[in-house]
C-alpha cells in the first residue's frame, strides 16, 4: 500500500472525532438548565422603587411569574426591552425585574428613559441571587409556576417568538389543567 496515504487517513479519523465533538458541544449549549422542575432559589431582596421594602420568593407563591435578570450595563437587555414591554401589555404574567450587579440610580434612570415593563424590580446588588439562579450572562429569563417551581428558562435575548411558543402556552396549559 502507498504509505503516502497515511497522513490523509490519520486526518480522516481526526475529522470524525471533531464532528462528534461538535455534536457534543451543540448538545451542551442546548442543555436545559439543571434548575428546570426545581424549586425557585430562595431570595428576599429590596425593591428598587422603595429600598426600605423587600420582596421574597415566598410572597410570590400562588401565581405564575417571570424573573428577568437585567442590568443597565447590558446591551442585549436594551435590545430585548421592547419584547418585555409588549409582554407586559398583555397582563398575562407577573414580571419581576431582577436588577443585578447594577447601581440603583443607573437602573432607575434606565427604566425612566426606556419605560418600565416590570411589575416590580428587585435589587440584587452583589449578584448573589443571580448566582443561585445559575445566571452567567444577561439577560436571562425564568418562568416560575404557582407552586414556586421553575418551568422554563431562556438564556439571552427574549424574542416575541419565544414568548409565543414557550411562555404563553405554558401559562394557558397549567391554568386549564389545574
Amino acid at each position: 500500500m502507498n504509505s503516502r496515504i497515511f497522513p490523509l487517513l490519520g486526518f480522516a479519523v481526526l475529522v470524525v472525532l471533531l464532528v462528534v465533538g461538535l455534536k457534543i458541544a451543540d448538545q451542551k449549549t442546548n442543555l436545559p438548565s439543571p434548575l428546570i422542575d426545581k424549586p425557585v432559589p430562595v431570595f428576599d431582596l429590596p425593591v428598587l422603587a422603595n429600598p426600605g421594602q423587600t420582596m421574597s420568593a415566598e410572597s410570590l407563591l400562588g401565581k405564575f411569574y417571570l424573573v428577568n435578570f437585567w442590568g443597565s450595563w447590558c446591551v442585549t437587555c436594551r435590545a430585548e426591552h421592547p419584547v418585555v414591554t409588549q409582554l407586559a401589555r398583555l397582563n398575562a404574567v407577573y414580571i419581576v425585574g431582577m436588577n443585578f450587579r447594577d447601581e440603583s440610580e443607573d437602573a432607575i434612570a434606565w427604566l425612566q428613559r426606556w419605560g418600565d415593563p416590570y411589575d416590580v424590580s428587585l435589587i440584587d446588588y452583589d449578584g448573589r441571587v443571580s448566582i443561585d439562579f445559575g445566571v452567567y450572562a444577561a439577560p436571562e429569563t425564568f418562568l416560575v409556576d404557582p407552586s414556586g417551581t421553575i418551568v422554563f428558562k431562556h438564556l439571552g435575548q427574549l424574542t416575541w417568538d419565544i414568548v409565543e411558543t414557550e411562555i404563553l402556552p405554558r401559562l394557558a396549559n397549567t391554568e386549564s389543567g389545574s
Binding site: N2, R4, I5, P7, L8, F11, A12, L14, V15, L17, L18, V19, V20, G21, L22, I24, A25, D26, K28, T29, G71, W73, C74, V75, R78, A79, R101, D102, R113, G127
Partner: protein
Amino acid sequence: MTVELGQVSLLAALLTALTLGLIPMIGTYTGNRRFIAVSTTAALIQCLLLIISFGILTSAFVVQDFSVEYVARNSNSLLPMHYRFSAVWSAHEGSLLLWELILAVWIAAVALFSKRLPEIFRARVLAVLGWISVGFLLFIILTSNPFGRLIPSAVEGLDLNPLLQDFGLIIHPPLLYMGYVGFSVAFAFAVAALLGGEVSRDWVRWSRPWTLIAWAFLTIGIALGSWWAYYELGWGGYWFWDPVENASFMPWLVGTALIHSQAVTEKRGAFGNWTLLLALSAFSLSLLGTFLVRSGVLTSVHAFASDPTRGIFILAYLAVVVGGSLTLYAARAPKMIQGGGFAGMSRETFLLVNNLVFTVMAAMVLTGTLYPLLIDAIGAGKISVGPPYFGLLFTWLLVPMVLALPIGIYSRWQEDTASRLIGMVRWPLLASLAIGTVVWVMQPTLGFVSAAGVTGGAWVILGSLFYVGQFQFKKKSLKIPGSILAMTIAHMGLGVFLVGLSLTSTLSDEKHLRMEAGDKYQMSGYTFEFLGTKIVQGPNYTANEGEFIVSKGDEEITRLYPQKREYAQRGNMMTEAAIDPGFTRDLYVSLGEPLDQSGQAWAVRVYHKPFIRWIWLGAIFMMTGGLLAAANKRYRRKMPAKAPVKTEAKEVTA
C-alpha cells in the same frame, strides 16, 4: 453609512480573492501569460480592500459608533483611546478580520518580494493563497460579520472585557496571527510544488525565509501571551496547558521541526517528503487551532463566544484545505527516497532527532488536547488533561533533544565519527557539568531535575558559543557568517529558556496571606510590609490600591501598588498584580478579596520568582535568530533561469 462601506469592501475582497485563486491557476495550465500576470494585481488589490475594511471597523471604534453591534459589545464611551484600537480584535468577528487582513498582507508580500521565482510556480503559490483567503472571507461574511447594525442603536457600549484592557493584549494577537497565518505561505509553496509535479529542492529554498519569519512571529506571539497571563491573571503562572495555548503551541512545534528539516532538504536533498508533510501540517495545525478555539468544542478560559454554525463552517474548511492537500500529497509526492544517503553518525541523524522530538511533542500535545473530547465522545465521562501529563512528557522529550543539539551543531553532513565529535564538544560539556554542579551545591533545594535542566541549558549555550569561537579561530576572521550567527542566537535562546524554566520551577516561593495595614511578612530574604489600601479612580474603573514596601535588610528595594479593580460597565472585578521585575528575580504581589467589612484586612498573594524573565528572554533570542536567518543574503540571490517562462524584468519591486 461608512460601516456598510466596510462590508462592501469585504465583499469586493472576496471577489478579488476568487479571481486570484482562479485566473492565474488557469493561466499556469494553459500558458496564458496575461492570466498569470493577474496574480500580482489581484494580491495587491485584495490587500488594499482589506485595509479599507479593517480601517472602517477601527474608525467605528474610535468614534464610538454604538449602532454597530460589535462596537457596542466591545467598547464603551469611557474606554481610553489606545484600547479602542485593540478592541477591534478583542472578540471573534474583529479578530477574524484581523486574521484575514494579515493573510492579505502576507499574500501581498509574497506577490511583491518573490519576483525572482519562476513565473508559473509563483502564480500557483499566489493562487493557493487566494483560495485560503476565499475560505476565510466566506467564513467572515457568512457567519461572523463584524459590521452588523444594532437596531435600535445602543446608548452605551458594554465595554471591552477588562482582561483585555492591557498593553500585552494590544500586540499579542497581531503577532500571533502573523505567525499562524505566515505558515500559510510555506503551505502554499508545498502545494504549488506538488501541483508542479517536479518536487525539486528549489521550492524548499524559496520557502525558507517565509517559514522563518512566520516562525519568529509565532515564537514571540506565544511568549507575549505567556507573559500577559503571568502579570494579568494574577496567579503568577505563565503557562497552563490550556487548549488555546496548546492550539498555538502545536503549529510552533511543527514549525520548529519544519525549519530544521528544510535545512536538510535544501542542503542534502534528503527528507524531501517529510519536509512537504511538515509544511502542510504546520498550517493545518494553525487551522485546527482556530477550529478548537472558536467552535466551542473544547472548554477553555480563552474561549470565544462559541457558535456551532461557525464550528461546522471551520470544520468543513479544515476538511477541504487539509484533506485536499493531503490527498494531493498522497497522489503526487515522489515515491522514491531522494537525496544522498547518510551514515548513522552525521548531521542528518542529529536533525532527524530534532524532527522526531518536535513531531512527537506536537503529537503529544494534540493527543492531550483532544483526549477529553475523545473520552466525552465515547461516553466515558468528562476528564481534563492537565499539567502533570504535559509536564512529565515534555521533560523526558527534552532530554534527547538537549543532549543532541550541541553535538549536532559540530557534526558534518553525510558522515562523521563519534570520537571526533566528542573531542570537539568536550570543553563545553565539562564546563556545563561544572556549572550545573556548582549551582546545585549553592542551591540544594534545586533538586536533580532542575539541576539537570540548568546543566542542559548551559550545555546548549556554551556549546553554541564555543562553536562560533572555534569557527572564528579557524577562519582567523572576525566576521561571523549570518546563518551561523542566527543559528547560535536561536539555540542560545533555548538554553536561556531552559535555565529560566528550571530555576523558576523549583526555587519560586509563594504565599497566600491575610494581611492588615502594618503587617510584615518575610520571604526569601525580602520583607513585604503592607501599608494599607486606598481608593483610586481609573478612566473606566474604580480600584482598591494596596501599598507595599519591599525591603532587603534595612534597604528599601521598591514599593509595589497592586490593584483590585472594578470595571463599572461590566461589573467585573480584576486583579492587577504589582511586579518588580529583575534579571535574576521578580517580586510579585497581588491583592485578593477584602477579608472584613472595614476593608482593613486583605487576602494577599506574595511571590518571589527567580529567573522567570529568562523564559521570555529565551523566546526573544529565538525570534531574533529566526529573523536573522530569514534576512540571510543567499535567499535574495537570483534563481538560475531554468524556468519555462522568464520573469518580466521590467517590473519594479516596491
